[in-house]
């Protein structure tokens, strides 16, 4: 009281109050600094991750091709006119390609050198030549310049991913091969094109031929199965539990177990899939169908929890209004509660599916980890999945797979971005209605 009395003006602040204020401002400043620092740390970590992935993965979307003047005659290919499908199939493209390639380097005559030279071409080069000929049958009998894939080691040198100024025995490309490569570059016989095959090919032992087509389709089918199973089941379960189920001990137990289910380590779902879906029901091993079923076990609790939370958030006055209008309980839910709960449910579903997209462990257990060359045509064909493909490539020894691994991660990230975008668009659409 005495302090107050000593104030002359209304807003004068005493010394102790000033000190207290100063302390408070300092505390606020400190708090804000911590917040900004936390965000900066997170942003820095994300930036590092993205830079690493992008800098090492971008080159996988391009491939190196060499131009070879191939003599496509009856004697070199071992086939005759007319060029039927059968005749095209039986051609000796590998031999023709190699012979023509050797001819480009007049100094090469020894067996050992020839072998080293042949190693600069990809294992898939002969198939490329065959495809080229079936597209350009009029070139039969001529010598044409054909672009074929370079082997992975040359590809890596050309992209600058592999160092060339280290000791010869420490790199996979010999000095001789490097000299040949430089000659080819000088002659303008080396080019870089966009690697469309990366998206359509299955896995391969040769990095330059390996693609994520099988993994993309496998993941797509698995997520489709997962969505078709878990979304209707999850929404139905959430509606029943939230709107119709009596509140008793049984529903309490069910609720607790749904929450527990969401926290179960994913590999246990994989084990369950192996023990029950594969061994008891005998569904085909390593297929997106089984993968989707196992993933849906993981997604289900996420969807149920999200849907229940959204249903709970619908104001009770809406339910009362509908019931008082003479709507039946089912009409009340379907006409009023569910549409209002949909945006939240969809967001939860997409979050669940995004988790499922990145899930690896359960897929390892059910055999979706095999080396799959073919692209699956249905959920019943064996296939890889995107995260499993990353895992498989990451443990491959060859340098060519490093960029493939990073590129596969980029594809997964792109999928996640697209899925979240869909979630945002769906939300906006549903919300515009009311």
């Amino acid at each position: 009281m005495t302090k107050r009395a000593s104030h002359t003006g209304g807003l004068q602040i005493s010394e102790t109050a000033k000190a207290r204020l100063k302390k408070r401002y300092r505390a606020e400043k400190r708090f804000r600094f911590f917040g900004i620092a936390a965000i900066c740390c997170g942003a820095l970590a994300l930036l590092t991750l993205l830079t690493t992935v992008f800098s090492s993965g971008t080159s996988a979307f391009f491939r190196t091709e060499l131009s070879v003047d191939v003599e496509m005659s009856s004697e070199s290919l071992g086939i005759d006119l007319p060029l039927t499908e059968e005749a095209l199939q039986s051609g000796k493209y590998k031999k023709a390609l190699r012979t023509s390639f050797y001819a480009q380097f007049p100094g090469v005559s020894q067996r050992r050198d020839k072998r080293a030279l042949a190693k600069m071409l990809s294992a898939g080069a002969a198939l490329q030549l065959q495809a080229w000929l079936s597209e350009n049958p009029d070139k039969f009998g001529e010598t044409a310049s054909v672009w074929v894939l370079a082997a992975s080691d040359i590809d890596q040198i050309h992209k600058g991913n592999a160092p060339r100024d280290i000791e010869e025995k420490r790199r996979k490309v010999t000095d001789q091969q490097l000299a040949w490569y430089d000659t080819l570059v000088e002659q303008g016989r080396v080019r870089t094109t966009f690697n469309w095959a990366f998206f359509s090919n299955g896995d391969s032992r040769s990095p330059e031929l390996a693609g994520i087509g099988s993994a993309i389709m496998g993941s797509f089918y698995a997520l489709l199965v997962c969505f078709l199973l878990s979304f209707p089941l999850g929404v139905a379960a959430a509606i029943y539990l939230e709107e119709f189920a009596p509140k008793n001990r049984l529903t309490d137990i069910i609720e607790a177990n749904i929450n527990n289910l969401a926290a179960v380590p994913s590999i246990i779902f994989g084990l369950m899939g192996l023990a029950i879906i594969l061994n008891v029901f005998g569904l085909p091993r390593g297929t997106p169908l089984v993968g989707g079923v196992v993933l849906s076990l993981m997604t289900l609790p996420t969807i149920i929890i999200a849907c229940r939370a959204s249903i709970k958030a619908v104001p009770p006055s809406i339910r009362q209004a509908a019931l008082a209008m003479g709507a039946s309980p089912v009409q009340t839910v379907l006409h009023h509660v569910l549409p209002l709960a949909m945006p939240g449910t969809l967001t939860g579903t997409i979050v669940g599916l995004a988790q499922a997209l990145g899930e690896t462990a359960p897929l390892l257990m059910i055999g979706m980890v095999a080396f799959v060359v073919s692209v699956p045509g249905s959920p019943l064909d064996p296939s890889a999945a995107l995260p499993v493909q990353v895992y498989l490539w990451a443990e491959s020894a060859e340098r060519g797979f490093v960029e493939k691994t990073a590129a596969a991660i980029m594809v997964i990230l792109a999928f996640l971005v697209v899925m979240n975008l869909i979630a945002v668009i769906l939300r906006a659409r549903f919300e515009r209605k009311w």
């Binding site: 009596p246 509140k247 104001p315 006055s317 809406i318 339910r319 009362q320 209004a321 509908a322 019931l323 008082a324 209008m325 003479g326 709507a327 039946s328 009409q331 006409h335 009023h336 209002l340 209605k433 009311w434």
Partner: protein
């Protein structure tokens, strides 16, 4: 549905709604003690009383909205037009079509103004085609005195209207299914005096066609709009009579105390 219409129309010379010895329990707690009331057709009946006296509970018995409250049980019987609405043969959906309800807080559906009004006719099969539906929507909005204010924006969300307009939209929604009885649970407690006056005027007009039961905390409102008034206290119906008599010459001491503001 036809047979039920017949059941409901038997004995139209009796009171519209007749409750006999109604006891309501929320779990162990008894909320209504032996309430017996007769409510007359084409009149406004007001239920007044202090908070927690059971007047809203009684109102919600009349369209069985208490059914959705867990642990709520009722014994006694309530007849509307002579048929027992708690008999096992009574379909709750049909009952609520006949007995509409307006709530304390305006609760339009988060849909367009048009869809709000058209919802009831649609689910009850009253609107066979688009023209009939349009007709019902327009007449209902006109009866609720809202049409002129919203005729240019029938497709805009009902939740974008002001509080008073929202409440009149809820009334339009209720009368769109052409009920016999309209229950109003403190319909003006969330509204300003001007909006309240509009709703009260509306009640005067509506009572020509509907039987209205209103729960209100405002004794002035009860005096203004109702012909009959019932006073509830501690779950008992203390007194019921013509509004004028209740307000000017109450028979019970408790009624007198409440009306003169000694408690409540």
């Amino acid at each position: 549905m036809n047979s039920q219409t017949e059941i409901l129309s038997i004995g139209s010379n009796m009171a519209k709604i007749s409750a006999q010895n109604v006891n309501v329990y929320y779990g162990e707690k008894q909320a209504l003690h032996d309430v017996s009331i007769d409510i007359h057709a084409n009149q406004v009946t007001a239920l007044i009383g202090p908070s927690g006296c059971g007047k809203s509970t009684f109102l919600r018995c009349l369209n069985r909205m208490n059914d959705v409250i867990e642990g709520c049980t009722l014994n006694g019987s309530i007849y509307i037009d002579g048929s027992d609405i708690y008999s096992p043969s009574m379909d709750v959906v049909y009952l609520r079509e006949r007995v509409g309800m307006v709530f304390q807080k305006p609760n339009p559906f988060p849909k367009s103004i048009y869809d709000n009004v058209a919802y009831g006719p649609r689910i009850h099969g009253l609107a066979e085609d688009k023209t009939r539906c349009d007709e019902i929507v327009v007449t209902s909005l006109q009866k609720a005195g809202l049409f002129d204010e919203v005729k240019d924006r029938l497709n805009e969300p009902g939740t974008g209207l002001s509080g008073g307009q929202q409440q009149r939209l809820c009334i339009a929604r209720t009368i769109a299914v052409n009920p016999d009885v309209i229950l109003m649970d403190e319909p003006c407690s969330a509204l300003d005096p001007i909006a309240t006056a509009k709703i009260e005027d509306l009640m005067w007009e509506l009572k020509a066609n509907y039987t209205i039961v209103i729960v209100t905390h405002s004794m002035q409102q009860a005096a203004r709009v109702s012909q009959h008034t019932g006073f509830f206290h501690m779950g008992n119906l203390v007194e019921m009579g013509e509004t004028e008599q209740i307000f000017q010459n109450p028979g019970e001491q408790r009624t007198r105390d409440y009306i003169t503001g000694r408690f409540g």
